[in-house]
């Protein structure tokens, strides 16, 4: 395994001196990513996806759990000790233009890693090689970030991430804000690199259509926990957790004649300050029963894990539709 995460927790302190407490942004998650595999994290904003990615890349201290990279524990590493790891694990951030230094030329941006890690190389040649890998011509080397379109800036971000041949790329919303025609280019590029260089990838996105096409396995996050994990195709075919089923059914599709068989959820997501008792999804779950309000479900299964007392059978519809009072 390239990456193994066990019972990871990230907590944030809240409150002032006398009534200090903590909320859990990530509340105990476990997963593995194998070499060459693409693993996707999906969930609504605030579900802890980005916090989890930051914790895995040691940008965010963790409060419990273990992270192993390529068989070695990395969760205790601090400061200078994390530097060798940065060569093997690269990060792509959300904002394609904002994550590039505005005063550096593209040539310096993509080769910065060589200088930071003291790797001897012909930087000019390396810049050309990296830019051609991501499908940009050599003239881009002299440009500044503001002279790039969103798709081009994203390609530069990819070139920078793969500069030192990492084993794992962590990509936070790699296609957010891109047009559909450009989104395909970036995803195809990541996929080509995965095939050619054997990269493993952790992709965070809320675009489920993207997940379907690029991810081998996926995890669905809700309030900092995984409610369902498994093979992407299997989950899309038959979601077993009610939240996954609702997310998949809420995906607007570009087909005006498509029958809309929606599972609608009350819009309000519970606050991390007041996590619901029992199963944390019961406040929005159309299938919730008495047991769900008192007893938290443990994740069941090995390859496919579902944290639900009453996992759905394929195609199962919610019981009688309850009208919510306005």
């Amino acid at each position: 395994m390239i990456l193994s995460v066990r019972d990871l927790q990230v907590s944030f302190p809240v409150g002032r001196l006398m009534n200090r407490s903590a909320i859990l942004g990530v509340a105990g998650v476990s997963f593995d990513i194998a070499a060459g595999e693409t693993f996707a994290l999906v969930g609504e904003s605030g579900s802890g996806k980005t916090t989890l990615a930051r914790a895995v890349s040691l940008l965010q201290p963790i409060s419990a759990g273990e992270i192993a990279f390529d068989g070695k524990r990395i969760d205790g590493l601090r400061g200078a000790a994390t530097k060798p790891l940065r060569r093997e694990m690269a990060m792509m951030f959300q904002d394609p233009v904002g994550s590039l230094s505005p005063r550096m030329q593209v040539r310096d941006i993509v080769t910065e890693a060589f200088r930071v890690h003291g790797v001897e190389a012909d930087l000019r040649a390396e810049a050309d090689r990296l830019l051609s890998l991501v499908g940009l011509s050599g003239d881009f080397a002299n440009r500044f970030p503001h002279q790039l379109s969103g798709g081009q800036a994203r390609r530069v971000g990819v070139a920078r991430a793969i500069a030192l041949n990492p084993k794992l790329i962590i990509a936070d919303e790699p296609t957010a804000g891109l047009d559909v025609s450009v989104q395909g280019e970036v995803l195809n590029l990541l996929n080509d690199l995965r095939e050619r260089l054997g990269l493993a990838m952790l992709i965070i996105t809320h675009n489920l259509h993207v997940v379907h096409h690029v991810a081998d396995r996926m995890a669905v996050m809700y309030l900092g926990r995984f409610v369902e994990t498994g093979e992407t195709e299997a989950i899309f075919q038959a979601p077993a957790h009610p939240y996954t089923a609702a997310l998949l059914s809420a995906n607007p599709e570009p087909d005006p004649d498509k029958a809309k068989d929606r599972i609608s959820l009350p819009a309000e997501v519970p606050s991390l300050f007041a996590r619901p008792k029992g199963c944390e999804f019961h406040t929005r779950c159309p299938w919730a029963q008495a047991r769900c309000k008192t007893e938290a479900p443990a994740a069941q299964g090995t390859d496919r894990r579902v944290a639900c007392h009453f996992p759905l059978s394929p195609g199962e519809r919610p019981p009688a539709v309850q009208e919510t009072t306005p």
């Binding site: 379109s149 047009d179 997310l247 570009p254 005006p256 004649d257 309000e268 997501v269």
Partner: protein, 319 residues
């Protein structure tokens, strides 16, 4: 009756590198009580179009031809004062970021009563209307919500409050510019359903701008496809999505990963880039990227009527 009718609209911006022709011969209509979608990628002129309708073009921009008729009046010639009177009560807007519409230091109730200053109602009546409107957009406990400030609401609720404010004066036209782009899938669907419901109740027309094809298909009855400042195809959503005739529309629909029913590792793309609008090519604007390009495409393409209400601006379309 047509609420908004745009005919041969041209908008230019003067820039250091010469005149930038941002909108070229744009024509379409928004009929009464209908939801019309405008779809297109970055740089297609969606925002310029809205600003032209609202009379909010930047100082270096001007309407260089054509007309924008709102309920029969040509907006390209009304005075700034008259335009101010129209914006809000007759034409209102919802934008992508609800915090741009809400003042962070004034309570929601105060903002909602302030915008009714033209209504001539008493203070109590204004507050009453604000509560009714908040209830209609499903804000829980609306009376208490009036005393709260925007930051105390979640992103989805803020957008619903912005919608409530936009519809409070019962405008004839609501312009919604990517209002669901910043929301998650479940909230996005809830917001679309809410817009549909309120539009039907109030009986206004909606001009809905989005680059998200799924949302357009879900919400809109008609759709206008824009590319590089031109309308390349328009028709009912069914006509355009089920039988796209302009090569750009075809390609755009192909690119959406949601249209690929079976799982694929290689997604379709549209090679090439939008041309420089300071130097528009003669002939078809999409020709440099088109997979069906022919010699005739170097001349200006005609608008071809494919069906009643469905037109595509392309040489290669047979009626």
């Amino acid at each position: 009756m047509t609420v908004l009718s745009i005919h041969n609209l041209n908008v230019s911006f003067s820039t250091e590198g010469g005149d930038l022709h941002a909108l070229k011969d744009v024509s379409f209509e928004v009929p009464e009580r209908r939801i019309v979608g405008i779809v297109g990628e970055s740089g297609c002129g969606k925002s310029t179009l809205i600003n032209a309708i609202l009379g909010l073009l930047a100082d270096n921009g001007r309407i260089s031809g054509g007309e924008i008729r709102f309920q029969g009046r040509d907006l390209s010639h009304v005075s700034p004062r008259e335009m101010t009177a129209l914006r809000g009560p007759r034409i209102s807007t919802v934008f992508q970021d609800p915090m741009g519409a809400l003042n962070p230091v004034i309570s929601v109730g105060r903002q909602m009563t302030n915008i009714q200053y033209r209504s001539g109602l008493s203070k109590a009546e204004k507050a009453e209307r604000a509560v009714t409107m908040l209830r209609r957009v499903r804000i829980p406990d609306p009376e208490a919500a009036l005393t709260r400030y925007p930051h105390e609401f979640s992103g989805g609720m803020k957008q619903r409050i912005a919608i409530a404010m936009a519809l409070m004066m019962e405008p004839a036209l609501l312009i919604a510019d990517e209002p669901t782009t910043a929301l998650d899938a479940t909230l996005e669907v809830a917001t679309i359903e809410l817009l549909q419901e309120l539009q039907a109740q109030i009986g206004c027309s909606v001009l809905f701008i989005s680059h998200h094809l799924g949302v357009i298909a879900e919400l809109c009855e008609d759709v206008v496809v824009m590319y590089a400042g031109e309308v390349v195809e328009r028709g009912t959503t069914r006509q355009v999505f089920n039988n796209p005739r302009h090569p750009y529309t075809e390609r755009l629909l192909d690119c959406d990963p949601a249209r690929q029913s079976s799982r694929t590792r290689h997604l379709p793309t549209i090679p090439g880039e939008i041309p420089d609008l300071r130097d528009r090519p003669n002939g078809c604007i999409f020709a440099p990227r088109c997979h069906r390009r022919a010699p005739v495409c170097d001349t200006t393409p005609p608008e071809v009527a494919v069906q009643e209400g469905h037109v595509a601006r392309c040489h290669m379309v047979m009626p």
